[in-house]
């Protein structure tokens, strides 16, 4: 399965716990995780605004009784998922406003499942796209045109498509192959014998 990119802010005053969690998160397969550490509540709103994280893992004690939805609005991060990092006793009502909880004795697998559940939509769409990693016949035709140096308009005319459709195809090709440049596509096309060297010189 392709990796899911996640940007996570860990807000936790203890450097020992922060670094431990960071190490563990980076080892989880299936995710490519970028982490920003925040140690004090003062710098949290700024860190949220500049980094726009997908997930905030926070020690609930850091924000006391603050209402999370107000906080998200304040940081203009409405879609961020909030996970409580729980290693002491908190009142039930305080934890209810979080999307998920990570407990101090959670295993790496448990944390992985929690992240997958929180990002269920993306996991599903990644799995779908996994099945469609192969290029369609139409997309291969377009790759051939691109590596021959044709413009989008020329490709559209020769394949009887609209330029708009050609652009959509090209975007899908780039996404499926993770190749964004014409010279990269040329290598792909030669290696997969879609074109001959004489076509592109």
């Amino acid at each position: 399965m392709a990796n899911i990119n996640l940007k996570i802010i860990i807000a936790e005053p203890s450097v020992i716990i922060r670094s431990g969690l960071e190490l563990l998160l980076k080892r989880i397969a299936g995710f490519r995780i970028q982490i920003v550490e925040v140690s004090g509540v003062e710098s949290l709103p700024d860190a949220m605004r500049t980094n726009k994280p997908d997930v905030l893992i926070i020690n609930p004690a850091m924000i006391g009784g603050v209402n999370l939805s107000n906080f998200k609005e304040e940081c203009s991060c409405l879609s961020v998922k909030c996970i409580a990092l729980v290693y002491s006793v908190f009142e039930h009502t305080c934890l209810r406003m979080f999307d998920e909880q990570i407990k101090i004795f959670d295993s790496a697998d448990e944390i992985r499942h929690k992240l997958e559940r929180l990002n269920a939509e993306e996991v599903v769409s990644m799995e779908e796209s996994d099945e469609q990693q192969m290029l369609s016949a139409r997309e291969k035709e377009i790759v051939v045109c691109v590596v021959k140096g044709m413009t989008n308009r020329e490709i559209a005319t020769s394949l009887f498509l609209s330029t708009h459709t050609v652009i959509t195809h090209r975007r899908n090709i780039a996404r499926k192959l993770q190749i964004h440049s014409a010279s990269g596509l040329t290598i792909y096309a030669i290696v997969n014998k879609l074109v001959e060297l004489s076509d592109i010189k």
Binding site: E22, Q34, I35, V36, E37, A47, T50, N51, Q178, I179, H180, S181, S183, G184, T186, I187, Y188, I190, V191, N192, E196, L197, I200, K201
Partner: protein, 238 residues
């Protein structure tokens, strides 16, 4: 795993390098040679006429693995030293690293068919040209501008925000080459190809952190300088 910063000038230079060997590159880009014995970072810097604060700023920025954290640009930073470092980094990539990868890559794929070697070589050469343009712009436009404002000249036509807008990530395309080789390279596995892939992995990281240094340390320092120079010039006007 590397040890996390905060190195101080009283720490031994050899400890810094052994803890965190990519710092070897930082050291040599500042123009410091090996063979410094038991001397500490401050002593080695002074012996080599390198500004210690600038050296430590770069070292601590790079050795802090949580790169998202916004560093505070220290007052003591020497932009002249910084530019020497950046210039030597450019030289390293353009005159040493990329040509070396090119030679190794061509040798690694020399058993492939002509068409495969042709397209891979063309990809690499186009990429090297992009890096060259990217770095040349900094050498020809940005550095002279910074030297001019260091001398107190204000230039109405240029400011560093122009550079901020056009400063793109140069490691993406070499990452693409790496992905293509890993996913689609048709030949048999060979040691030279693995070795060149290792080089590409580390160069990709090196280029990314080079860019990060420019974005997070160099540009903010120039923004501060621009502010200072503007204020000063304002004061002198009647």
């Amino acid at each position: 795993m590397y040890k996390k910063g905060n190195y101080r000038e009283t720490d031994k230079m050899s400890d810094l390098i052994c803890d965190n060997y990519p710092m070897l590159l930082v050291m040599s880009r500042f123009g410091i040679a090996l063979g410094f014995g038991e001397k500490n970072i401050g002593e080695v810097c002074r012996m080599n006429n390198v500004d210690t604060c600038t050296f430590l700023t770069v070292v601590n920025f790079l050795s802090d693995t949580a790169l998202g954290s916004v560093p505070t640009v220290s007052e003591c930073l020497s932009l002249e030293s910084f530019m020497t470092y950046l210039h030597n980094s450019h030289d390293y990539f353009l005159k040493f690293r990329l040509p070396q990868i090119r030679a190794k890559l061509l040798e690694a794929i020399s058993n492939s068919t002509d068409d495969v070697t042709f397209v891979i070589r063309r990809f690499f050469d186009e990429y090297a040209e992009e890096v060259n343009k990217h770095m040349l712009y900094e050498e020809k436009t940005v550095f002279p501008y910074v030297r001019a404002i260091l001398n107190g000249e204000t230039n109405q036509k240029y400011n560093i925000s122009i550079f901020m807008k056009r400063h793109d990530q140069i490691e993406l395309k070499i990452a693409e080459l790496k992905n293509i080789l890993i996913k689609y390279y048709p030949g048999a596995s060979n040691n030279m190809l693995n070795s060149v892939l290792f080089d590409i992995f580390s160069t990709e990281e090196d280029l990314a952190s080079h860019n990060q240094i420019e974005d997070s340390l160099f540009i903010p320092a120039i923004l501060e300088l621009e502010k200072k120079v503007l204020n000063n010039n304002g004061k002198h006007k009647p």
